[in-house]
Amino acid sequence: MPGLTKTDRITILKTLLKIRRFEEKTIQLYQTGKIWGYLHPYLGEEAVASGACQAIKKDDYIVSTHRGHGHCIAKGGDLNKMMAELLGKSTGYCKGRGGSMHIADTHLKILGANGIVGGGIPISVGAGFSCKLEGRGRVVLCFFGDGAANNGVFHESLNMASVFKLPVIYICENNLYAISMCSKDSVACEDVADRSDSYSMPGIIVDGTDPEQIFKAVSDAARGARKGRGPSLIEAKTYRFTGHHPNDPAEYRKKEEADYYKSEKDPVTNYTQKLIKEKVVTKKQVQDIDREITDSVEESVKFAEQSPEPDLEQFLEEVKHI
C-alpha cells in the first residue's frame, strides 16, 4: 500500500483494536447501569476513524458526531479521561458535564463530538476558515453520518466550503441506518458521494470496512486541501454492528444483513488476518497487542470508578454567571 509504512499499518491495527475493546467495555458498563444516558457504539465502523485519522497530522482538526468514541480514540484521545467522562466523573474530559456525546480535546485538536445530527458540519466550515487564514497548511476532517447528509446544514456547509476553497475533508460514514431509517429509503440519490458534483468537489466512495482504502482516500484529499484545492467528500460504506444504542434490538433490519457484515466485513477481524497473512505481524504479536489494549481499557474503568464525582459547589460557582 503506497504511503503506508509497516509502522502505520500496525498503528491502524492497534487503533482498530482499541476502539473495539473500548466499545465492548462501554456496552457492558451500560448494561450494568454504570454508564447511563445515551451511548452510541461504533462497533463495525472502526476502520473509518482508524484509517482517516492515520492519514492526517497531529495538528489537524477533527469534528466528530454523536457516535464519536472511535474518532476521539483514533485522534489520540485519552482512554482514562474518556471512560471517566462516560461514568460522569470529575476527571473526565468534560468534568462529567458532557458525557458520551460531547468529548472534546483542544490539545488533540478534537473540536467536539456533537449531540445534534449534522451540528458539527457547519463548525467544520469555521475551522476550515481558520486553517485557510493562518496559512499553515492544516486541514479539518469532518465526520458525519448518512442521516446528517440529508440535513440542510450539509448542503449549506459543503457549498460554502467549496466557494471559499476551504481545506475540509467531509467524510460520510454511511452505516446504512439513521436510527431505524435506512439510507436506501432516505437518500434520494444513489450514493451520498454523488452530491459532491453539485458542490464542485471530488466525491469518492470507499469500502468503509477497509482502513487502508480510507487512509488512501483521506491522504489524497488532505494533500489537495493543503495545496489550496479545497474540500472533498468521501463516502465510507460501512455498517453499524449494534442497534442505534445498546437498548435498540435493531428489528428494522434483516438478520441476514447484519450476519453478513459481522461475518464477512468485520474490519477488525479482516485487517488482523490481512496483516498476519502479509507477515506484517504475527498471531502472537496480535495477541500481545490485544492483551495490552484490553488491560488499558480495564485500567480506564478502574481510573473512572476510583475518580471522584463532580463537586456540586464548584459546578454552581462556575455556572452562576451564565
Binding site: R97, H102, A104, L111, I123, S124, V125, F129, E134, G152
Partner: protein
C-alpha cells in the same frame, strides 16, 4: 465630544478591534462591497480585504457555524445575521452549539464569537423582518445578550463583546442606526452587566432598553411638566443584568414601569418583573406595570404597525396610573 451616528459608532468599534487584533474577522451576507444591509461595514472590504471581510452565500446556519468553528480554533469572528428573524435558520448553531460548547465540555473549549444582528419594528418591513426576539436568547444559558441604545453604548459594548471569550448576541434596533450620539475620541470599553441611568428621577423608575429608551426619555420629559420625576434605567446588557442597580433604583423611587418593544408573553419584561417582586417587594408602593408590544406578528400597514409597539404616550399613561 464628537456626535456620530449609532451605525458609525459600531463601525468604529469594529475598525479599532480589527486593527488591534488580527484574529478578529467579519462573516455574513452582503457585508462586502455592499457594506452590510445597514452599511455598518461600509469601506471595510477595501480596508481589510476578503479574508477578513468574508462575504457569504445566504446560508445562516453555515455563517453561524463558521463563527463557532473559527472561534473554537483561535479566531474572534463576528458573524452577522442580517435580521434577527433569520436567526431562526441558525438556531442550532446559536442555541445548541455556541451557547453550550464551553459548559458541556467542562470549560475545555471557548467560543469567543459575536453574533451581530438587528431587530424591531418601525420600517414597514412586516412580520418576518420586524421581530424583537431577544427573549429567545435571554432564555438560553450560555449566551450574553447586549442591546445598546446610544452610539456611546453601542461602541463601548461592541468592543467588550469582541474581546469576551464567550458568545454574545449583540442586538441592535433598525430605527436607531442614524441616531446621533456623543462618542469620545479616546478608546473606552463598557463592561457587561453595568446599567446606565439615562435620566435621574425620584418618583418612578422606567426600565427600558434599546430603542425604547428614547420613548421612555420622551415620556419622562412630558411627565416632568406634570411634576413627576422619572428615572430612566437602561440595563444596556440583558445578560448579564445589572440587577443590583435596578433594585437600588426601585428602592429609591418605589415604583417601576418596564418597557419593551417585544410582545409581553414569555418576555424579558415579565422576567424582570418577577425578579424585582422577588427582591424588592417591600419597597414597592404600587404594582409593577409592563408596557410591551402586542402579542401579534408585526403588520405592514404603518398605523397598525405603530399600534403594535409601545410609544411615549403608552409609557406616560402607565406612569400616571401608578402615581
Amino acid at each position: 465630544m464628537a456626535e456620530i451616528e449609532y451605525r458609525e459608532a459600531l463601525r468604529q468599534a469594529i475598525i479599532e478591534e480589527m486593527d488591534r487584533d488580527p484574529k478578529v474577522f467579519l462573516i455574513g451576507e452582503d457585508i462586502g462591497v455592499y457594506g452590510g444591509a445597514f452599511r455598518v461595514y461600509k469601506g471595510l472590504l477595501d480596508k481589510y480585504g476578503p479574508d477578513r471581510v468574508i462575504n457569504t452565500p445566504i446560508s445562516e446556519a453555515a455563517i453561524l457555524g463558521a463563527g463557532v468553528g473559527a472561534a473554537l480554533t483561535g479566531y474572534r469572528p463576528i458573524s452577522e445575521i442580517m435580521f434577527i428573524d433569520f436567526a431562526t435558520l441558525a438556531m442550532d448553531q446559536i442555541v445548541n452549539q455556541a451557547a453550550k460548547i464551553r459548559y458541556m465540555t467542562g470549560d475545555s473549549l471557548n467560543v469567543p464569537l459575536v453574533i451581530r444582528t438587528q431587530g424591531g419594528a418601525g420600517r414597514g418591513v412586516a412580520a418576518q423582518h420586524s421581530q424583537s426576539l431577544e427573549a429567545w436568547f435571554y432564555h438560553v444559558p450560555g449566551l450574553k445578550v447586549v442591546m445598546p441604545s446610544t452610539a456611546y453604548d453601542a461602541k463601548g459594548l461592541l468592543k467588550t463583546a469582541i474581546r469576551d471569550d464567550n458568545p454574545t448576541m449583540f442586538i441592535e434596533q433598525k430605527m436607531i442606526y442614524l441616531n446621533q450620539g456623543e462618542v469620545p475620541a479616546e478608546e473606552y470599553l463598557i463592561p457587561f452587566g453595568s446599567a446606565d441611568i439615562k435620566r435621574e428621577g425620584t418618583d418612578i423608575t422606567i426600565f427600558a432598553y434599546s430603542a425604547m429608551v428614547f420613548e421612555a426619555l420622551k415620556a419622562a420629559e412630558e411627565l416632568e411638566k406634570e411634576g413627576i420625576s422619572c428615572e430612566v434605567f437602561d440595563p444596556r446588557t440583558l445578560v448579564p443584568l445589572d440587577e443590583q442597580a435596578l433594585i437600588e433604583s426601585v428602592k429609591k423611587t418605589n415604583r417601576l414601569v418596564i418597557v419593551s418593544e417585544a410582545c409581553q408573553r414569555g418576555s424579558v419584561a415579565s422576567d424582570i418583573c418577577a425578579r424585582v417582586v422577588d427582591s424588592a417587594f417591600d419597597w414597592l408602593d404600587a404594582p409593577i406595570k409592563v408596557v410591551a408590544g402586542l402579542n401579534t406578528p408585526i403588520p405592514y400597514n404603518s398605523t397598525l404597525e405603530q399600534a403594535s409597539i409601545p410609544h411615549q404616550a403608552d409609557i406616560v399613561e402607565a406612569v400616571r396610573k401608578l402615581i
